[in-house]
């Protein structure tokens, strides 16, 4: 196990700048997830930490020692690839033993380590099989086993669940969480799937276009998004972002809506300031009151059984998503009045930065 420090990491390919100065501290034993849309640089950052890509500028410190210029093979890290990258001609046992043979360990030690990892990952019955005779989930477990046997300083995961079907993804996600609890290593995990990020991470690092947008615990990032991007990216279905304007002390107006919405506003806002109101779909209630915050016409109703998603529109605003617990009888075309919960809304200034109410 080890701690990792990234100082002003920059990466360019020719004129294309991929990472614009990443600063990050990862504590010993922490599970950190890099999350962001495709092309945000999360995999590049992971590969730079691994040593598979050179860093253009900046410093990488593992346990206080710089590893810039140190080849991947000498960094003592282990990586689980999206494609598993198993050696196809070797059995499961040999796949896991390969790195240990490189380390010059004795037969008995190798055998012990491989069998311990296989037991942990329920692979004991498959040790003689070749990767092609395994299911996707089993292959991924072999890839994880190959990392575990080496007892690395840091585990790196590059979208390890992307190639699995939905059911297996959930199961393997749980196994990974349990594994972290069991072996407790420092783990860095890259994904574009925010559910994986929310469920696995001690801390989430949200990246966009080569920059860190926010670092925090999953609930921190969910409850207090630092900006419009994070607010829109984290949470499924995504947060409703409604452009509006301050119209008075503790009062705003959104879109073309004629009436004012009364809500506590942070200091520093003035009448006529442009703002964006963020309300998560689960923080809107359908109401019969006359003083509803917004009225929409339903375009689509999705029944998921345990919950219902309502998609509606109103002139001047993007489509609004409302999440209702249980099952509802609303039909397409129904006019609904919505009330925003006052304890769970978000405000963003014209630059997209979060504004916190007092």
């Amino acid at each position: 196990m080890a701690e990792l420090k990234l100082v002003d990491i920059k990466k360019s390919y020719g004129a294309a700048k991929i990472l614009h100065g990443i600063d990050l501290d990862i504590a010993d034993g922490e599970f950190v997830v890099f999350v962001g849309p495709s092309g945000c640089g999360k995999s590049t950052l992971l590969r730079i930490i691994a040593g598979l890509e050179h860093v253009s500028e900046g410093e990488i410190l593992i346990d206080g020692h710089s590893v810039v210029g140190v080849p991947a093979s000498d960094r003592g890290l282990a990586m689980v690839f999206q494609s598993y990258a198993l050696y196809p001609h070797m059995s499961v046992f040999k796949n896991m033993a390969f790195a240990l043979e490189n380390m010059g360990l004795g037969r008995q030690e190798i055998d012990q380590r491989v069998r311990r990892a296989a037991q942990m990952l329920q692979l004991t019955d498959y040790l003689d099989r070749k990767p092609k005779a395994l299911s996707g989930g089993q292959r991924q477990r072999v890839a994880i086993g190959r990392a575990i046997v080496r007892d690395p300083k840091i585990f790196l995961f590059d979208e390890p669940l992307s190639n699995l079907d939905a059911e297996l993804r959930v199961a393997t996600r749980k196994e990974l969480a349990a594994l972290h609890g069991q072996i407790g290593g420092t783990m860095i995990y890259v994904t574009h799937d925010q559910v994986e990020a929310m469920t696995l991470a001690d801390r989430i690092v949200v990246l966009r276009a080569g920059r860190i947008e926010q670092i925090g615990t999953p609930l921190d990032v969910y409850n207090r998004p630092a900006n419009l991007f994070v607010a829109g990216f984290i949470g499924s279905p995504r947060m409703n972002l409604l452009p509006g304007r301050v119209v008075g002390p503790d009062a705003i107006r959104i879109g073309n809506e004629p009436h004012m919405i009364a809500m506590p506003l942070p200091e520093g806002l003035h009448v006529d300031d442009e703002i964006t109101l963020g309300v998560r779909p689960e923080h809107m209630d359908v109401t019969a009151r006359d003083d509803a915050d917004l009225a929409i016409t339903l375009d689509l109703v999705e029944h998921l059984g345990g919950e219902t998603y309502l998609y509606g529109s109103t002139p001047g605003l993007a489509q609004i998503t409302v999440k209702q617990d249980g099952q509802t009888a609303y039909q397409r075309g129904t006019r609904l009045r919505l009330h925003f919960r006052r304890d769970a809304f978000h405000l963003f200034d014209v630059a997209g930065r979060a504004l916190r109410a007092n």
Binding site: P71, P88, F98, A99, N102
Partner: protein
């Protein structure tokens, strides 16, 4: 027809392609009716054989029939060309071919040229295959690296494959002959003229060398394709596993390249055994019989000697055919074992 919408009528004028298509459509219509009738008579399954028939006829006429005629020639004797006029001699031609005091010493054989051809072909093939595989592998590995001008070098190595074997042999003959380019260079540097195509050791060396030069590009291409088919993340995983480079090559690259290597080894073996044109043009099988190959022996026995001995040549061809079948069987067996 109910349930089928009529095609929309178009007012656009038909293009030139449409006009050119008219004869094709007409021909298809004409073929259509008898084919439908045939399918009704034979059923869908047997119809497949009808489509295979044209190629089967060509195969029978130009491949299978000559093989049969060749076997008939090999068990008959005399100078006559038509099988019906040739007397049956049983295994006589084979007995004559294989009549040897010691198979390791061609001079003890009645048909010593055949055995010299066998010995030369064996030496040629063995040295050519080993050198060819090693050099192609090395070249493919280098051409697979991220080097400057990679595309240019790939083209350069493949270019000789495009040349006719006769052209290849003539180019090298021009370089290697008594007053050739190479000797001019050696003399220019103060050395003594070497008779590359006259001294037996040199002649065989250059026969092997020229063959490798001419065909290496093809085998390099097969191995290069194999190398490129190995996913790069396997090498990254090996790097993360702290694998030394030599071990990456021996434990990952070579085993993953094995199917391509089998193809290269067996194709090179088959081509080596069949070698004729390049060596024939380069050395004429000489000096003496130093570079005489089996195929040249067969050719000369059948067509260019004063007494044209078709029967003996046919028997030698059958022996060569059996060897080639064994080699092909070896390739299939190795490929299947690897696949299993």
């Amino acid at each position: 027809m109910p349930g089928v919408e009529p095609l929309p009528k178009t007012t656009a004028r038909p293009s030139i392609v449409a006009w050119l298509g008219i004869p094709f459509v007409l021909a298809m219509r004409i073929v259509d009716y008898p084919m439908r009738a045939l399918q009704r008579a034979l059923g869908e399954q047997r119809m497949a054989y009808v489509f295979l028939l044209p190629n089967l006829i060509f195969f029978s006429l130009f491949v299978f029939a000559p093989i049969v005629i060749n076997v008939i020639f090999s068990v008959t004797g005399g100078p006559a060309l038509f099988p019906s006029e040739r007397p049956f001699v049983g295994a006589g031609q084979y007995a004559y071919l294989f009549d040897c005091g010691s198979y390791l010493d061609p001079s003890t054989c009645r048909e010593d040229h055949f055995w010299r051809g066998v010995a030369n072909t064996f030496r040629f093939t063995a040295s050519q295959v080993v050198a060819m595989v090693l050099l192609s592998l090395l070249t493919a590995v280098v051409l697979n690296m991220k080097i400057r001008g990679r595309g240019f070098f790939r083209a350069v190595y493949f270019f000789p494959v495009l040349l006719s074997p006769v052209v290849v042999a003539l180019i090298w003959k021009w370089i290697l002959q008594r007053d050739g380019l190479l000797n001019a260079g050696i003399i220019g540097l103060g050395g003594e003229r070497i008779l590359f195509l006259v001294e037996p050791g040199w002649a065989m060396f250059w026969a092997v060398f020229v063959s490798i030069w001419a065909h290496m590009g093809f085998y390099t291409l097969i191995l290069l394709a194999g190398l490129q088919a190995i996913p790069s993340d396997i090498y990254e995983a090996a790097e993360m596993d702290a694998t030394p480079r030599w071990r990456v090559f021996l434990r990952l690259t070579l085993p993953l390249l094995w199917p391509n290597l089998i193809v290269v080894i067996v194709l090179a073996l088959i081509r080596g055994v069949q070698t004729f044109d390049e060596v024939f043009v380069l050395t004429g099988g000489g000096p003496g019989t130093a570079t005489l190959m089996i195929v040249q022996y067969i050719y000369e026995t059948a067509f260019s000697n004063q007494v044209q001995n078709f029967g003996l040549a046919a028997a030698a061809s059958v022996v060569l055919g059996v060897v080639l079948c064994l080699l092909t069987g070896l390739q299939l067996a190795l490929s299947r074992r690897k696949a299993a």
